[in-house]
Amino acid sequence: MNQFGKILKFELSGYLKNKVFVGVTVFLVIAITIAMFIPNISAMFKSDEEAVPDVLPGMLVYADDPELSSMVGQYFGEAFPDYAIMLADGSLEDVKAKVVSGDVQCAFVMDSLDSYTYYVNNLSMYDANMHTANSVLQEVYRVTAMVQGGMSPEQAEKILSAQIQCNAVTLGKDQMQNFFYTYIMIFALYMVILLYGQMVATNVAVEKSSRAMEVLITSANPTSMMFGKVIASCLAGLMQLIAVFGTALVFYNVNKSAWGDNIIIDSIFNIPVSLFAYMLLFFILGFLIYAFLYGAIGSTASKLEDINTSVLPITFLFIIAFIVVMASMGSGNIDNTIMKVCSFIPFTSPMAMFTRICMSTVPWYEILISVAILIGSTIGVGFIAAKIYRVGVLLYGTSPKLGNIIKSVWKS
């Protein structure tokens, strides 16, 4: 235990003195600080823009019938406040030429009140003009039809603008609201495990290839070594996350008024305490179980170059878990069979079970069983990893075959 503490301290200080680690953390903290000030910054630029009124882009309305064209022009004037509406004279060719030359941005050529052609030079992905025009024209058409049928324009207006009163009461979980922090946690777990797992594997392989292992293995117990290294990397990862999300939280509160009622941001920072506790629990366990695997793999590599290929199977396992969870989140059907199975398998449960807890209602005993399995397997994987490490670090030369490692671990 004493040795474990010393290893933990040494490894952790190794991370904290690592220039890349510190650099990345500082960069992330600065980036998130800037991000949290975005509403203030953009507000500053916005006020400048409003001081200098822009020339509105032009929109042409053209119809053979001058009455139709002036009527549509009038309606569009109200519907498109961001455009200068102009009635076109001349021929259809002139209208097209004006659109192509850029004199106007777009043109509506009306065949009748319920039929038109929209001319635009480049159709933007976000061009909603046709949509707006359709609803305006539809309403005009309906009012006209109703008035012709004997109603007064006021009556027709009232019928068409009738609003439905509705309320949603969430008895279980609001998937919409919980989606974002589930997403962030899953993504953070994904990034951190891939990053730190690789770091743990490299760390072990460096000791082996620099032969520092020869001294270490005769000085310290392999189980202490493995647990010390992995838990140190977990603490380093948590510190980094706390630095980044802590900064985000502080500056969110500083800029709270500027953020206003942004639902996404609000839901992230108002995560319920119980979910936060689950997040921490699954994060730590998920991190540890993968870090042990990465450490064990690192000990079997003879050269640093071998690491990238050796860790592939673990990385694949992890990516598959990630994809299953992400796909289920996107589908809206969180409690599907695959997710249920995955939420009990130790390597997938940190992501799958957390997602289910956040976005659906999971019975307490299922959570308990899942966590118990996960804790048990994390400890088990830790001890197996330590055994692999003990055997692996003294094998030089060609990378040992998986079967041989299992055999020697079994024997020792």
Binding site: I7, R211, A212, V215, T218, S219, S408, S412
Partner: protein, 296 residues
């Protein structure tokens, strides 16, 4: 203190690496563990240090089963290496702490050894900024800083210049004088002869020769005479096939019976112009080559 290895067996998979290794080393003396590359020295050392267990046999300290919680080992591995990118003081302190020292006494001891080995000025440098010889001195500190009871040095002199080799010799003598068990493994026989009172030669996983170095040499058959003469051709012609020429032009006369020594010496002195006659004393190198090659 007396360290005994008794009938140590070890196999890796199908391959039996050690076949009943036995030897004993005393405190206050240096013990030489010799053998060719791949003979099983490093495996023996690792078993002795409990890196992995033996398949059979036992290790005794003062007649009782060794208790690794109580005995301190210091080890300079043949494959040198520490953390190249970390500060020297940090890693030396870490290694000493892993061996059970408190942080404060570890720093104190490491500083003592850095000064003792003239490395004090490199205290706060990264290891990879040092020359190979100096890195080796730093590594030696990992073997000594925690004041171990048993010091195992694998090729300690390789790569050291004569001044550093001298410094290391003094350190080793100091450790021996303190009553520690010093286990040497080296291919440089001159150093073994200089330090070691006892040796064991391992060949293909077996101890082929062991015991007190003087006894080993004395027991070597004294059946050769070294003769230095101004007329070697004459002697060669008279002695025929029992006479050979050594590398430095001396003659080597093999005696068919060691008891003939006196009469042959007399015959040589009376009949030829002789500068010097002596009985051939084998060096450890000669013994090593003979025993390590024999069963290979």
């Amino acid at each position: 203190m007396r360290l005994e290895l008794k009938n140590i067996d070890k196999s890796f998979g199908e391959k039996q690496v050690l076949k009943g290794i036995s030897f004993a080393a005393e405190g206050g003396k240096a013990f030489g563990l010799l053998g060719r590359n791949g003979a099983g020295k490093t495996t023996t050392i690792r078993i002795l240090m409990n890196v992995f267990p033996a398949n059979g046999g036992e290790i005794l300290l003062d007649g009782e089963k060794i208790d690794y919680a109580k005995v301190g080992f210091g080890y300079l591995p043949e494959e040198r290496g520490m953390y190249p990118k970390k500060l020297i003081i940090d890693q030396l302190t870490y290694f000493a702490e892993l061996k059970g020292m408190s942080h404060r006494s570890a720093v104190k001891s490491v500083d003592y050894w850095l000064d003792r080995l003239d490395m004090g000025e490199h205290r706060n440098k990264r290891l990879d900024t040092l020359s190979k010889g100096n890195q080796q001195k730093i590594q030696l500190i990992t073997a000594l800083a925690h004041d171990p009871d048993i010091v195992i040095l694998d090729e300690p002199f390789s790569g050291l210049d004569p001044v550093n080799a001298m410094l290391l010799k003094d350190v080793v003598k100091e450790q021996i004088a303190k009553g520690k068990i010093v286990l040497f493994s080296s291919h440089q026989m001159s150093y073994i002869e200089e330090f070691c009172d006892s040796i064991a030669i391992i060949n293909a996983g077996r101890v082929v020769l062991s015991g007190d170095l003087h006894d080993v040499k004395r027991n070597y058959p004294r059946n050769k005479l070294i003769v230095s003469s101004v007329c070697p051709e004459k002697i060669r012609a008279d002695f025929g096939s029992s006479c050979a020429v050594s590398d430095n032009k001396d003659l080597i006369i093999r005696l068919s019976r060691p008891d003939d020594k006196q009469s042959i010496m007399k015959r040589l002195v009376e009949n030829y112009d002789i500068d010097e006659i002596r009985v051939f004393e084998p060096s450890l190198n000669d013994i090593f080559i003979e025993y390590a090659e024999e069963q290979a």
